[in-house]
């Protein structure tokens, strides 16, 4: 058993290279199904941030992104996508919750964690920065005040290349 397992890992690693955003079905706040492999931003960077209404640091993080979103967009063309991992217990409150906070970015519902699994997210918050080809350039788990500055630095590095 163990030998097969290790052998599998070795072989998997041999095929390692980058590809587009993994496919999973998520929902718009209107309930419409959207496949994540269709997320795009005309070759410009995308930030994907996993969060939940009951997760305090997640909300702090998205509040911080929202404060800078318009400036970042002007400078780097970035698109921020927030993926709510709330299940049907709390996914119903996401729309008014987002609206009351005045968040400017797109929010999608991942009620059964399909996209969360596809992106190998174990806990929220977990944020990814993807380049124009959908390759993961940078990622960060958890959030503390000031972490948005690291993301901004990475965004600048990416767009100034």
């Amino acid at each position: 058993m163990r030998t097969t397992f290790i052998l599998t890992l070795v072989c998997l690693t041999m095929g390692l290279s980058a590809q587009n955003i993994p496919s999973a079905d998520v929902k718009k706040l209107s309930g419409q199904v959207v496949n994540t492999s269709n997320f795009s931003n005309d070759g410009k960077p995308i930030v994907i941030s996993f969060w939940a209404t009951w997760c305090k640091p997640c909300v702090k993080e998205l509040n911080a992104y929202n404060d800078y979103y318009m400036d970042w967009k002007d400078e780097t063309g970035v698109r921020i996508v927030a993926i709510s991992t709330d299940d049907t217990r709390s996914s119903g409150r996401v729309a008014p919750y987002v609206n009351a906070r005045g968040w400017q970015f797109d929010v999608f519902l991942d009620e059964n964690g399909d996209f969360k699994r596809a992106m190998n997210v174990a806990n929220v918050p977990h944020t990814f920065l993807l380049n124009g080809d959908g390759e993961i350039i940078w990622q960060h788990t958890s959030y503390v005040d000031g972490d948005e500055e690291e993301l901004y630095d990475k965004l600048l590095e990416l767009t100034e290349k």
């Binding site: 072989c11 993994p22 009951w54 503390v144």
Partner: protein, 537 residues
């Protein structure tokens, strides 16, 4: 299966450059405890001294193919999780193929139909919950706005599969996607329906059990501008089980949710009524095992430890609940709103038992009769809370919460009467300088019942983006038993870089309940040191 996973990347390497490239990704997670003895709070040191839960996911995407697996190891299972997990294995592995219209998966998979009232397979490692299917899963999207899903499978229980076979079908039509003329209409409409049936051979000598048990659900989602209304109704035929005391009565569930937002105002109202809707692929299963469906709680999931002291867990055999939530954002640069604006959230939820009439049915196989939507006077849970979030300056932010909760511990946990508690939170964070922040979180809970009053204080120092240090103390100063007025302290530090995170902790954990979604886990009191490691790649 495994040999297929091995072959795939080799095929990938043999391909020419213009073919899609393969991508390997995954994550790794472990938590290990070293337990110490504390006779006052009654902690147990297991004979192994140290216990560990760990797992790793590996996923390989190549064009339209995906293969994945998860190795899990519980050596032995951490306290607070079910001992059934003891051991190691690869309980999750799959291969799937997807093109524009069709997607199929063989192996293990998760799925949710509608709100989950008749089917939801999901996992949450923090809860020790995993009811994944093993079988065949198909998703078919023949025309824009039309979605079909079908599955056959057996469910996971620890490192085994349950006896029952589950068959399910779900269809959904998005009217606005289907008709081009309605594509940009302000009014949007989605309808859907599911059928789920389980088969389990009847080998019971005492009862004549139904071998096939079916359930049906219908749902709609209506939206007009910033107003939305959605609902789902589910029905299940006779399904005697350990949960319902082997009665043959049908089950029903109704779930309704409505939201409205305008400018700085937002509101949500939701309600639910459930009767005899526990649905498992083995009629003898209990706890969190082999559940086919999911009945979401209509109460708030609290973030702070003391406001979450008395969390509510869905009663599968029946309950009626409602929740209302209101948001108001006071505009920035006003006298009340301050320079950055202030957000006020008001939440109220209440859950009762349902009304059952057992008269003349004491020895009947139906168990009881009830009227649809009839509610009993027995209060199970009641929670009123007010939250204010405000940014005072570029450096100082604060959150204030006031809560009043009534918790029918007797009904939910089987002991302890009804607990009435008041709780308050004061959470302040201050940015000392670029990348350095400090956070002070104070909480108070007052109650005459259960373990009496608590005070909790936490101080956290963070250096973005890598470090965090915290010290926390939860003090049960109001416990009736003087020797149980204990300080539950924890020291933690963590380091983060990219997708990696290491956290070290030392201290005492209080006995309580951890809940995510509608599912809860009982956590025993514990004392010791523990480390958590997570990595995503």
């Amino acid at each position: 299966m495994l040999s297929l996973i091995i072959i795939l990347p080799m095929v990938a390497m043999a391909q020419k450059q213009d073919r899609p490239k393969g991508r390997l990704s995954g994550n790794f997670n472990m938590e290990a405890w070293y337990y110490l003895k504390d006779s006052v709070i009654g902690t147990n040191v297991p004979p192994e001294k140290t216990l560990m839960n760990g797992y790793a996911n590996f996923r390989y995407d190549y064009g339209n193919f995906t293969a994945g697996m998860r190795f899990e190891g519980y050596l032995n299972t951490l306290q607070g999780f079910e001992k059934g997990y003891d051991g190691t294995g690869i309980p999750y592995r799959f291969l799937s193929y997807k093109n524009e219209e069709l997607e199929f998966t063989v192996g293990n998979f998760y799925e949710q139909f509608g709100n989950g009232l008749v089917l939801r397979a999901w996992e949450d490692k923090n809860l020790g919950y995993d009811n994944a299917f093993e079988g065949i899963h198909v998703k078919y999207n023949p025309y824009k706005g039309v979605y079909f899903k079908g599955l056959y499978g057996k469910q996971r229980v620890f490192f085994d599969l349950g006896e029952g076979i589950v068959r399910g079908f779900d269809g959904e039509i998005n009217i606005n996607q289907l008709f081009d003329t309605l594509k940009y209409a302000k009014t949007r409409f989605i309808i859907g329906g599911s059928i789920v049936s389980k088969y389990q051979k009847d080998e019971n000598v005492q009862y004549n059990l139904p071998e096939n048990v079916a359930s049906f659900a219908g749902r709609f989602n209506f939206q007009h501008g910033m107003f939305s209304l959605k609902g789902e109704y589910a029905h299940k035929v006779n399904d005697p089980s350990a949960d319902n005391g082997m009665i043959y009565k049908d089950g029903d569930a109704l779930l309704v949710n409505s939201t409205w937002s305008k400018g700085s105002f937002g509101a949500m109202l939701s309600g639910k009524w459930v009767d005899n809707m526990s649905f498992r692929s083995d009629y003898q299963a209990v706890d969190k095992n082999l559940l086919i469906n999911y009945l979401p709680a209509v109460t708030q999931n609290h973030t702070y430890a003391l406001t979450a002291m008395y969390p509510y867990a869905t009663q599968l055999t029946g309950e009626a609940g409602a929740q209302g939530e209101f948001y108001y954002r006071i505009k920035r640069k006003t006298a009340l709103g301050g320079k950055y604006g202030t957000l006020i959230t008001l939440n109220y939820s209440r859950v009762h038992d349902i009304e059952r009439n057992r008269e003349g049915l004491e020895n009947d196989t139906l168990g009881y009769k009830d009227k649809f939507l009839a509610i009993s006077d027995d209060l199970l849970y009641d929670d009123f809370n007010l939250k204010i979030e405000r940014k005072f300056s570029r450096k100082l932010k604060g959150t204030f919460i006031g809560q009043y909760v009534s918790y029918n511990k007797q009904f939910i946990e089987g002991k302890g009467g009804i607990v009435y508690a008041k709780a308050g939170v004061l959470d302040l964070s201050y940015r000392i300088k670029r990348r350095h922040s400090i956070r002070l979180e104070q909480q108070l809970l007052m109650t005459e019942q259960d373990r009496g009053d608590w005070y909790s204080v936490m101080l956290e120092y963070t250096i973005s983006p890598h470090w965090f240090f915290s010290i926390m103390d939860q003090y049960n100063y109001g416990n009736d038993h003087k020797d149980l007025r204990v300080h539950y302290y924890t020291l933690s530090m963590g380091y983060n870089k990219g997708g990696n995170r290491v956290q070290l902790n030392f201290g005492k954990q209080r006995e309580g309940i951890v809940c995510v979604g509608g599912v809860c886990r009982q956590v025993p009191s514990a004392y010791g040191a523990y480390v958590t490691l997570t990595s995503t790649f």
